[in-house]
Symmetry: C2
Subunit: 453 residues, 2 copies
């Protein structure tokens, strides 16, 4: 009986002290981020001294060198480059206007990544459609030689703007092939945003030769100009558009993932990956997308070197080419598979540097079931643990190694205001929101390192 | 046995259908806010056509008339004005500079609300202190005839910026009396912010004649200039400040709370109050503080008139004089008490129009215990129900009527960047964040109306 009582008392005390310890460690990590961390100044450098950095560009190479040096300076045990072949696409000159009688109205557009050039200037009528079904109904007769305009609006009723993005982005991605199928000369898509301004949002597109073998230019039109075109089409259905766009697709070149490691004290050959992407679109400065994720991830090196010593090896990865190819993510997973590495989990931060909301955790190998118990520990920091998580760059890891994935999810109300635009600049990142995100990621990874076997 | 089984089945089905109904209603309210509500355009009008509106000013009267008209237009069954005597304080000309040898360095300051004038220009040395204890140690010998500078920084390690504000604001509020006690000529306080810029933050101050009967001018100095002063004092302890400030305290005048009601279907004589404050500081446009709260509250009139018919009477109150007297809140509670009105609860929205975090609910009469069960209903909207709530304007209701209070709490990382500054303007409010806050408040009040007896 005495033994049982001792046992009964021992366990709760032990648990309570463990929880206290966790709570103290989490607090230390947050204190560091909110008062000493370099992530804001690192982001300033990346945005202001390097700027945007599309795969294969001179800036992307500068960013690789900067990430290598910064990981070293932050205290990584080892830093190395992992070769990645990346496609090169270059934006040239683009001009777009509506022609109405003797008036011309300039229209703000951005060519989509991977778009072909127009060749000659295109002068054509515009066909506005809501989806590919409406387009199919119109058929070749109505579409041939025209410019197809996918005027698909984000549903403002979705609380999550990511949901709206998910509902609309296929028209950006594959709209041009749908349009080409019926003989269109070019494809315009309404910018992926709820933000009522003149700034177009670029992003990647693709030509699907199962739909059409013809490649036509694809461009995003700003929110306001999308409304202008729609309004003018109502009054003057025969309004014409004059469109010129020049873009260049060059041979793939060598680039790199940048990887920094803090060696595990107990399982140096087991890995937890923390990552974001180093490349960005070629407008703005890639501040939220994904400079924020890069500097948050790099700061984890400091945490695991100086605040909490991890059992597993922590790998911070600055992935290359998330925006237009995902080659970095693919190579990283393939190499892990080839080397038969043991990976525990991976977390991605690529949803902006906004105020934290939650960490999504998938249920594979019971990770979510373990983590959801930590909700009370994270409550003071306004972080929840929710079911389901991942990210583009780490998704090949799950496919190849079957490991559970996690995703850091900040508030997304403002994200698609600036996503892939010239407004995605350093000034639009809030210092403390960025820091709180970094703290959440490091604190969460510390808990996983501690308790996930 | 059969009966028991029926009973057992009946209850869960009943509950499930009730929850489904709640969930559908909440969704309808959110849909309205995110796609049709007028709160953003109402805020634009209040900020851009009226502007800042300190109690007793011409603009405050315009705001009263606007609120009256807008509540009517939004569909209130009755709208009326409640007389409130308000103090008048007017900002005059202020100038502040550091004098170093033959150089003068301009310093960005704002007189604090209620501050007296300097009379003649004050030229004096500066004594920097961290708190009133340090000031007391220095004593009259070191402080007399000098300008006391409370250089008290927000603690960046607090995750909640409101906590930091709570820790520091007493130096803004009562610092001048502490300084006057030891013979200081004026009192400067570091602005209540973590935002590193040149914009000073005003706010209310008071003279406590238990500490000192002498009234000296009190001013807030911007974050950067606070650093500049501190740095210069280290190098040149004898640097002098030249300070002139002119402010006017006039006789109280009559102003109004604006009250709009939607009559309860079952208990027309029982009230739930939703409110924010109509007055603002006399810099910026009072957009977040508290135009946001006003337009969110007014929109509840539409909801309770058109989407959900309340059992209790819903009272939307645009309180007057929260910033420098709280007379509106006091009068409202006194009148409720005098008329022996039955109030159920009250919710205040005066923490900015930022992205929603939670609704704080106090435990009086078991309200929190009831509401916390709704957490799963609000989860899709990123709203939590947390223990402890209230607000300045509704606090007299609790004191006089003993009712439980609730407070709407948006994310506060950006709040003290703009609080009481010229940057608190319409452009700094995000449309969807404002709308999501309004939806959260109306949806929560619907639930309280439905289930709190």
């Amino acid at each position: 009986m005495k033994k049982i009582i001792q046992y009964l008392i021992f366990i709760p005390l032990f648990l309570a002290s463990q929880e206290r310890e966790d709570s103290i460690m989490i607090n230390k990590i947050y204190d560091y981020f909110l008062s000493e961390s370099n992530c804001y100044e690192n982001l300033r450098y990346l945005c202001k001294k390097i700027g945007h950095r599309l795969s294969g560009s001179v800036n992307a190479q500068k960013a690789v060198e900067w990430a290598y040096k910064t990981m070293k300076q932050t205290g990584a045990d080892t830093v190395y480059l992992q070769k990645v072949k990346v496609p090169i696409w270059k934006r040239g000159y683009t001009e777009c206007k509506l022609m109405l009688k003797d008036k011309s109205i300039p229209i703000n557009v951005l060519a989509l990544g991977n778009s072909v050039s127009s060749g000659e200037k295109i002068v054509a009528e515009i066909i506005e459609v809501k989806d590919e079904i409406e387009l199919a109904k119109l058929g070749e007769e109505k579409v041939k030689n025209k410019i197809v305009f996918f005027n698909v609006k984000f549903n403002p009723k979705n609380v999550s703007t990511s949901k709206s993005y998910g509902e609309c982005v296929k028209y950006r991605y594959i709209g041009a092939s749908y349009a080409a199928k019926y003989g269109a000369k070019a494809c315009l898509v309404r910018s992926m945003t709820l933000c009522n301004n003149h700034s177009p949002h670029t992003g990647n597109m693709s030509y699907d030769d199962k739909i059409s073998k013809v490649k036509i230019p694809a461009l995003a039109v700003s929110y306001r100009d999308a409304d202008t075109i729609a309004l003018l089409l109502k009054i003057h259905p025969d309004v014409k558009m004059e469109l010129y766009t020049e873009n260049f697709t060059l041979d793939s070149v060598e680039s790199f993932n940048v990887i920094g490691e803090v060696k595990g004290s107990k399982y140096p050959d087991r890995f937890i990956t923390i990552g974001g992407h180093l490349d960005s679109w070629d407008v703005g400065e890639g501040a939220h997308d994904d400079g924020a994720g890069i500097v948050q991830s790099i700061e984890a090196i400091y945490v695991f070197k100086n605040i909490y010593r991890p059992k597993n090896t922590i790998r911070v990865v600055a992935f290359m080419n998330e925006e237009n190819g995902l080659m970095g993510g693919k190579v990283y997973a393939l190499e892990a598979k080839r080397k038969n590495e043991k990976h525990i989990t991976a977390i991605e931060t690529d949803a902006g540097g906004f105020t934290p909301r939650y960490i999504g955790v998938d249920t594979t190998r019971g990770l979510y079931q373990l983590c959801e118990k930590w909700n009370s520990l994270f409550e003071p920091y306004y972080i929840q643990i929710k079911k389901g998580g991942g990210g583009a760059d780490i998704s090949p890891l799950k496919k190849l190694l079957g490991i559970p994935l996690c995703g850091y999810e900040p508030d997304n109300q403002r994200y698609f205001d600036i996503h892939h635009t010239k407004e995605d600049v350093f000034e639009n990142v809030h210092k403390r929101e960025l820091e709180l995100g970094g703290a959440a990621i490091s604190a969460f990874v510390m808990m996983v390192d501690r308790y996930f076997e």
